[in-house]
Each structure stands twice: as structure tokens, then as C-alpha cells.
């Protein structure tokens, strides 16, 4: 596959120089134009993969150029990222309506531009193209991670107690935490010389460091091509909204507010890393698939399990399975996250004609499970979900998986 082509349309040579410098470590082709009219010509001739488009330019401004790009059938699908110092709500809404893919507010850093472009095209470090050493191909190696992998989390926070509580919360997944009390002390962990297998998989950074150190740290991370896909999450007190907005604008993918909800934390980190969490819940038993729902299923975990189960269950069907056991033996209290997960899994099974059975302790842990399920289905939060128990036989609860499997 040829290297991605990036067109920068800006009347400022300074911007072209900065963009060119920023992309220098990557295998890309850069083309330039100095106003909207020239940008249209170059776009038609070069057919770039991404266009970086300034707003205020002589001859033809960026907004007019964007309109013409979107009106041209040959060019309309090229993603456009606007670069603008004018980030007022009205201006942003106007360009958003015109079909711009993203926008970057000036002043910007090279790392910020690389980050946004890398969401649209695959950027490979030049080193990876000329000498495909394992360390240089690290971004590709980070693909399709699952929650049972050995995950390494770098926590950059001045308070050791924060890192300790995070370490404790993720230990049940077998994930490791490395703590650095300042961005300066974290530099050795994000250096380009760090072997790929030792780079962090996720980075949590306190936004409370002075002199915008968290934002500068973000830029340092993004300057290392091997850390391109590693998510950075800001840690902040709830009221520090200015810091939070600034961090999001810089590129932090999420903000976790302190005090941290430790029960949610592993799943929130998994979400930031786009991990597949289904291996934590699904297993094979004979010709049945089993999904085991734990009592401590978090709100985030429930939502992600619900979302990821759709694909997982469809994959079962493709693989020839037709039976699913929902194991609720660890459940003693039927709370909203559990109800959501169970009902959506059952609904998915019904849609795909998969037979399902529930295993649970109806006498001790979860008395009157059918009634509890039916009642809870009326909870407002679930009202848009079709009732999975409609048109099915009376809900039986089996005491163990063997009994459930025998009942299919």
C-alpha cells in the first residue's frame, strides 16, 4: 500500500513548515497549497487522503474551499480537517454542518496534528518502512488487545496513593501499574529507545501539574511513533473543568475525575484502550457457550459487555454453536448493570435463534429470579429494550450448568 498523501492548504509558510516538520518521521507524501483556489486544483490533481485546511486565507478562504470540495463528486469523500483560530461555537457549527471531519484549534502543536490525522489514515514511522524492526512496528503490534492480556498502565500522578489505589483496582485483571510522580520522571518510559514490549499500554496523567505539564507530556508521548495508539487519560478533580476541557482539546481521550470510582476503573481503562472484554465473561463448555455474569459487574462493564456481546454471539452462530448458558450463580442481587447485560444477551440470542438457559441459585442467592427479572424489566432505563421473555416458555432457573445443558 502506498504512503498516505496529505494536502496542507494554508497561506502561512510557517504552518506548512511546522506540518512538514511534524510529519517528517512518518512515511507520508506532503503536498501544499497557499489558498483555497490553489487547494482545489492540487486536490483534484493529487487526490490526497486527508486535507488540512486553514480558514482565513486570501483569494479563497477555507470555508468556501470546503463548500467546493464537498460539491465536487470526485473530491467530496476526502476527509477534511480544518485548522482554525476561530473556534467560536457558531464557526464550529457552521463548518461541522458542511461535512468537515475534524477541526484543530490554533495554536496547535505538531503532535496534535499528527494525532488527528492518524485517526483518519495509518501513519507508519519511516523507520518501520525502511527497517521493519519489532520496536519500530509497535503501533501495529498494539492491535486487537483483549482484557486478559498483560496490560501495563503508566500512572503519572504526584500522589502515590492514587497510583496505589489504581494498582489495587486493576490487580484483579492481572494488570500492572507503574507510578511516576511527575511528567519528567515518566520520560524514560515514553522515550523512543524503550523496546515495544516495555512501552505502556495506557497512560493516566494528573492534570494538576503546574505550567500545563500534562499537556506538554501528551505532546511528548505523541512524538514517539511507537506510542501512537496508546490512550492518554487525564486525572482531575470534578471542578477543574478548565483543565479538563484543555486536556480534551489537546487529545486526551477521557477524563477520570477524582475521587476515582475504583469499581468502574478497570472497565473504564478497558474502554479507553478499546479492549475486547468478552473473554472475561465467555467460555466454552462442550457444545454450549457459557457467559458468566459476576455480581460486581460495573456500569461501564455492563454497557461494553452488552455492546460487545452482539458481535460475540453472532460469532458463535457463525462458528456453529446454538446454545448459550447464562451463569448467574455468583449473583445475589439483581442490579441495573446485571439486568441490562442479561436482558440484552437474551434478546440477542432470541434474534439469532440461539437457545438459552439460565443457571442460578433460585433458593438461596437469588430467590424468585423470574419475578425479579420480569419486575426489573419495567425499570425505565430498560424500557426501550424489547422484553426478551415475551413469547418464551416460563423462565426456568437451573441449579448448575450440567442441568441447564441437559435441558436444551
Amino acid at each position: 500500500m502506498s504512503s498516505p498523501k496529505i494536502l496542507s492548504v494554508d497561506d502561512s509558510r510557517m504552518i506548512h513548515t511546522l506540518i512538514n516538520k511534524g510529519f517528517a518521521p512518518y512515511d507520508v507524501q506532503m503536498v501544499f497549497a497557499s489558498n483555497g483556489a490553489e487547494g482545489l486544483e492540487v486536490a483534484a490533481k493529487e487526490m490526497p487522503d486527508v486535507i488540512l485546511l486553514d480558514v482565513t486565507m486570501p483569494i479563497m478562504d477555507g470555508v468556501e474551499c470546503l463548500g467546493k470540495l464537498k460539491a465536487d463528486p470526485a473530491l467530496k469523500d476526502i476527509p477534511v480537517i480544518m485548522l482554525t483560530a476561530e473556534a467560536g461555537k457558531e464557526n464550529v457549527l457552521k463548518i461541522a454542518k458542511m461535512g468537515v471531519r475534524d477541526y484543530i484549534v490554533k495554536p496547535f502543536t505538531e503532535a496534535n496534528v499528527i494525532d488527528r490525522v492518524s485517526r483518519l489514515v495509518t501513519l507508519k514511522p519511516k523507520a518501520a518502512v525502511t527497517a521493519p524492526a519489532p520496536a519500530a512496528t509497535a503501533p501495529a503490534a498494539k492491535k486487537t488487545r483483549i482484557a486478559t492480556d498483560a496490560i501495563k498502565i503508566l500512572v503519572v500522578d504526584e500522589h502515590p496513593a492514587i497510583a496505589e489505589s489504581i494498582a489495587k483496582a486493576v490487580a484483579k485483571r492481572g494488570w500492572k501499574v507503574v507510578n511516576c510522580p511527575s511528567p519528567a520522571e515518566a520520560q524514560p518510559h515514553i522515550a523512543t529507545t524503550v523496546p515495544a514490549e516495555e512501552t505502556p499500554d495506557a497512560i493516566l496523567v494528573s492534570l494538576a501539574f503546574p505550567s500545563k505539564a500534562a499537556l506538554k507530556f501528551y505532546q511528548s508521548v505523541r512524538m514517539n511513533p511507537a506510542l501512537k495508539g496508546v490512550p492518554l487519560v487525564g486525572l482531575s478533580v470534578k471542578t477543574a473543568t478548565f483543565d479538563q476541557n484543555e486536556a480534551k482539546e489537546t487529545g486526551y481521550c477521557a477524563i477520570f475525575t477524582k475521587p476515582l470510582e475504583l469499581g468502574e476503573l478497570p472497565d473504564r481503562i478497558a474502554r479507553a484502550m478499546e479492549l475486547d472484554i468478552t473473554p472475561l465473561f465467555y467460555s466454552n463448555e462442550g457444545d454450549c457457550q457459557v457467559v458468566t455474569i459476576p455480581q460486581d459487574l460495573s456500569e461501564t462493564g455492563s454497557l461494553d459487555l452488552t455492546r460487545q456481546s452482539r458481535k460475540k454471539i453472532a460469532d458463535f452462530v457463525n462458528a456453529g454453536f446454538a446454545k448459550l448458558i447464562i451463569d448467574l450463580t455468583g449473583v445475589s442481587k439483581f442490579e441495573i448493570p446485571l439486568i441490562r447485560a442479561v436482558t440484552s444477551i437474551i434478546h440477542e440470542c432470541n434474534s439469532l435463534d440461539i437457545k438459552w438457559r439460565i443457571v442460578g441459585d433460585d433458593t438461596d442467592n437469588l430467590p424468585n429470579l423470574p419475578t425479579v427479572v420480569s419486575t426489573n424489566l419495567k425499570v425505565a432505563a430498560l424500557k426501550d429494550l424489547p422484553n426478551p421473555f415475551t413469547n418464551t416458555a416460563p423462565l426456568n432457573i437451573y441449579p448448575n450448568k450440567a442441568a441447564a445443558a441437559a435441558a436444551f
Binding site: M14, I15, T56, P58, E86, N91, P107
Partner: protein, 163 residues
């Protein structure tokens, strides 16, 4: 949310005090420490060195100037471009930095209901650049001490707000 409060001199100074250091820190990697600010900047006034200017027109009419000494403009251009900067490079850098500061000021004003458009930046050189805006009701300025330089950056805003 659009505010009904009419922006005054203090808000203009606050806004440039927010964005000048942000632009300098992000683009140049240098801190810019604001002075106390001048709420009734006299006009006409003289600026000297390399001066960027951008006009605002709409519900706010006016002009913003950023004045650098020759030495400071060269220092900043070279810091941004990572090498020696020629005459054209310096003019280009001053124009772009003025654009970033003004664009952010414009965004603040637009979010308060004072929509306006910006002109293309122009850059002047000289020891006695006379600046004024006859009907301006907002005449503010501030000096910014740039890290590692004995010269300051002066930012001047003249503006009239529609009633």
C-alpha cells in the same frame, strides 16, 4: 451560551492575557508574562519594530496590533522554524501569530453574541507606526515579557461594539 453582557475593556485585556501566553507557549515554547494592562490606551500612538495588524468587522469593529522589536520577531521566528529566519519568514510568523491571537479573541466575542469577521493579516515595519481608531470605545493594550528576551511584545486593541 450567548451572554447579554457587553464586553468591556477589562474583558478585552483578560482575553488577550489568556491567549497571548497560550499562543506563545504552544507555538514558540516560550512563556509570555502579561503586564498590568492599560485600559485607556492613548491614540494616536506610535508602535515600532515589526507590527502585525488584523481588522475586525461586524458587531465589533476594530483592529488588533501585535508589535515586536526587530530582535524579538527574529528570535521568535527562528525558534518556531527551528533555523535561521529570513525577512519573509519573520513577516509570515508575525502574521500567523497575530492571526491566532485575534482568532481566539474573535471566538470569545462571537460566543458573547458579538459576531465579526477578520481581515487577512498585514505586517508593517518601521520605527514610528502611528495607530489609532477614531471612534473606538475600547482602547486597551498590554505588554508581555517573553522568556529569554529583554524585549516585550505589545498587543493593542481598538474596538467599537454595536449597541
Amino acid at each position: 451560551m450567548t451572554s447579554t453582557e457587553k464586553p468591556g475593556s477589562a474583558l478585552f485585556i483578560q482575553t488577550i492575557n489568556r491567549y497571548v501566553p497560550e499562543v506563545m507557549q504552544t507555538m514558540v515554547g516560550l512563556s509570555a508574562t502579561p503586564g498590568t494592562g492599560i485600559e485607556n490606551y492613548p491614540q494616536p500612538s506610535k508602535l515600532k519594530g515589526v507590527t502585525g495588524a488584523i481588522g475586525l468587522s461586524g458587531k465589533v469593529n476594530g483592529i488588533i496590533y501585535t508589535a515586536y522589536s526587530q530582535r524579538l520577531s527574529k528570535h521568535i521566528a527562528e525558534k518556531i522554524l527551528g533555523g535561521s529566519a529570513g525577512e519573509q519568514d519573520i513577516l509570515d510568523v508575525v502574521a500567523e501569530l497575530t492571526n491566532m491571537i485575534t482568532g481566539n479573541l474573535k471566538s470569545t466575542l462571537c460566543d458573547m453574541g458579538y459576531n465579526c469577521t477578520l481581515s487577512i493579516p498585514s505586517v508593517m515595519r518601521g520605527d514610528e507606526i502611528s495607530v489609532s481608531a477614531k471612534n473606538a470605545t475600547i482602547c486597551v493594550a498590554n505588554d508581555y515579557v517573553i522568556e529569554g528576551s529583554s524585549d516585550s511584545l505589545r498587543v493593542v486593541v481598538f474596538a467599537t461594539l454595536e449597541n
